[in-house]
């Protein structure tokens, strides 16, 4: 069966990846276009990159977005780890069904609904408690943390449920306190999951337009909000330049992460082989 040339499979791969990558490729190519018309080639030029780095509005929005994304990702990893730990290791506790429902629901909730509901919450809270005063970085961060902790929870929970808890049990039998077990055993094991959770939370926050638009206030326009208002008016080449920079950063990041994970996997396999040889 396998010596039939998998023509169908090859063409599915070629077609699928062409569909995924050609738009991005064109975006990058046309960022070096001299012409202002985005689709007519007017010669090679890097002037749009210069224009991009001279645009204060975009730069300050990008800096704001990066700050929000970093704080959000850190908070989301802490909350998501706690939630994932509770769901994977604590068995039954009262209100578990509601809890697990609330951790997965944000994943499928349409963004417009999440954004609207968080905004009305913030308005109501301001009325009753006087906090948060106005809306801005704080409210965007809280909103993003609520959304992205759900992703971290899923990652941590699935990582923990594929691990058997014999190491943790052994430590408990030897008298280690729960906090010590968590920091010395559980945390190092799930560290890779936490790193990918952090990166995912960071990216989602950096990318979010809809929720941020609902809960942001005057003077706190994030990068996607600035891009959206520019793009709505039509195509502009400096956005192409911005997109190319982002594509470059992501590609480099993912390739490095891929190599690191590959190396770690190899080391783990070698360790396991050594352990198996030692056990004999």
């Amino acid at each position: 069966m396998s010596n039939r040339v998998p023509l169908f499979r090859i063409s599915a791969l070629v077609f699928g990846f062409a569909f995924l990558y050609i738009p991005i490729l064109l975006l990058v190519i046309y960022s070096f276009n001299k012409s202002r018309l985005v689709t007519v080639w007017g010669g090679f030029s890097t002037e749009w990159y210069g224009k991009l780095f001279a645009n204060d509005q975009i730069l300050s929005a990008a800096w704001l977005s990066l700050k929000i994304a970093a704080i959000n990702a850190t908070g989301a990893v802490i909350l998501g780890t706690l939630a994932g730990l509770a769901l994977a290791r604590f068995g039954k506790f009262s209100g578990r069904t509601l809890f697990s429902g609330m951790t997965t629901a944000p994943l499928v909730m349409p963004e417009v609904i999440t954004g609207l509901s968080l905004l009305v919450l913030f308005v109501a809270m301001e009325q009753f408690f006087g906090w948060p005063q106005g809306r801005g970085v704080t409210t965007i961060t809280i909103a993003h943390m609520t959304l992205t902790m759900a992703y971290v929870t899923v990652i941590v929970q699935s990582r923990l449920s594929t691990l058997d808890d014999s190491l943790e049990e052994a430590a408990m039998d030897l008298g280690a306190r729960p906090a010590k077990i968590f920091f010395l055993i559980t945390l190092p094991i799930i560290a890779p999951a936490l790193v990918s959770g952090w990166l995912l939370a960071f990216t989602i926050s950096l990318d979010d337009l809809v929720i941020a638009s609902f809960v942001s206030g005057p003077g706190s326009s994030t990068l996607p909000m600035v891009i959206f208002s520019k793009v709505r008016l039509g195509v502009s080449p400096d956005i192409n330049a911005l997109a190319s920079i982002m594509v470059l950063l992501v590609t480099v990041g993912v390739v490095i992460a891929g190599f690191l994970m590959h190396a770690q996997e190899k080391r783990r396999q070698r360790d396991m082989q050594m352990a198996a040889a030692g056990g004999k």
């Binding site: 499979r9 689709t39 809890f99 396991m272 352990a275």
Partner: protein, 335 residues
């Protein structure tokens, strides 16, 4: 045995963790919080559950209750622009004013009906297209050599890490009247007039398929990858042709993956705002866009809330389907 499994790398990790623990224990707020919590009888376990639980109650559940409340209250020109639903009506009697007007308004005004139906139609067609594009790709990846699989899978996810907004933006340049596709086709001589693609439903379909393709491929891949290939060999031995084996074995077995992937595309697509706003016609009716306009342009919070509640009710069935498909997958994995 376990000690041996903890090789040098393991020791390095736990040394780092030990350091974190030491630092934390020396950190006054940590010790203070720990002592305080213990005095209240709160164990670590309770705190681990309580912190995220409280967070989600406050920032996920309570907001919905408030939206529900606003959906039943009347508009007023003030800040916030709605009337309170609960009022102390003298003598400490709690008066609850339920105003069904906003929902009646949704029923009576054709605009909302059309927007809901159109959103469902657009989401349904895009999901179908996404399945048509995603299934062959997921299948091809799942049947590649195992050394290739991870690389190919990473290539599917890679665009997902770049900005969603910019990926949608890329299609404006492709689909415009003087855009790349039209220029290319005219250069080939296939057409002499540009085809209008931007600001049509077609553009919205393309945008949704392009943006949500990984959501379709990942569940399909994980389903197809763990399929028992001996079934196909048995079928081939008994003289079944590959295509027939696919229809009678692979396709039915991948049903949970198909449902999970389809729902993961369909649910967010119904409420999508960015794609119709950038690629669709200005008057294209999608419910996410209607909600956005009610909220930001008309500042009618009660109607926007009613639209949100109605949208949520529409999505209950697909969300239940998704959860059933996912638990079926989980059971399959444990078998």
């Amino acid at each position: 045995m376990i000690a041996k499994a903890e090789s040098p790398s393991g020791q390095r990790h736990s040394a780092g963790a030990q350091l974190i623990l030491r630092v934390l224990q020396q950190f006054p707020p940590y010790r203070w919080t720990q002592a305080r919590l213990l005095r209240w009888g709160v164990r670590g376990r309770t705190a681990v559950i309580a912190i995220p639980y409280f967070w989600l109650l406050l920032f996920f559940l309570v907001p919905f209750i408030i939206v529900l409340k606003i959906a039943f209250s009347e508009t007023q020109i003030a800040s916030p622009p709605y009337q309170p639903l609960f009022q102390w009506a003298g003598d400490k009697v709690l008066e609850i004013k339920l105003n069904l007007g906003n929902f009646m308004f949704l029923f009576e005004d054709n605009l909302y009906w059309k927007a809901y139906l159109n959103s469902m139609k657009v989401a349904f067609i895009s999901t179908l297209l996404c399945l048509l594009v995603g299934y062959p790709l997921a299948y091809a990846i799942a049947r590649s050599r195992s050394t290739w699989r991870n690389v190919l899978l990473m290539m599917v996810i890679l665009p997902f890490w770049t900005s969603f907004l910019l990926r949608v933006y890329a299609w404006i340049g492709l689909l415009k009247n003087n855009g790349f596709i039209n220029n290319f086709l005219m250069w080939l001589g296939v057409i002499d007039q540009p085809i209008v693609m931007l600001q049509t439903d077609f553009a919205i379909y393309v945008g949704i398929v392009y943006s949500y393709l990984p959501f379709m491929i990942l569940p399909l891949y994980s389903n197809l990858e763990k399929m028992d290939l001996t079934l196909l060999e048995a079928a081939a031995d008994l003289g079944s042709r590959p295509f027939k084996s696919f229809l009678t074995i692979t396709l039915p077995l991948s049903m949970p993956g198909i449902i999970a992937g389809s729902m993961l595309v369909f649910i967010p697509a119904v409420g999508e705002f960015v794609i119709p706003a950038l690629l669709g016609a200005p008057d294209s009716l999608m419910i996410g866009k209607v909600l956005w306009t009610e909220f930001f342009s008309n500042r009618d919070w009660p109607v926007a809330s009613a639209v949100a509640i109605a949208l949520l009710l529409l999505l209950v069935i697909p969300i239940v389907l998704l959860q059933r498909a996912q638990s079926a997958e989980a059971r399959g994995a444990h078998r």
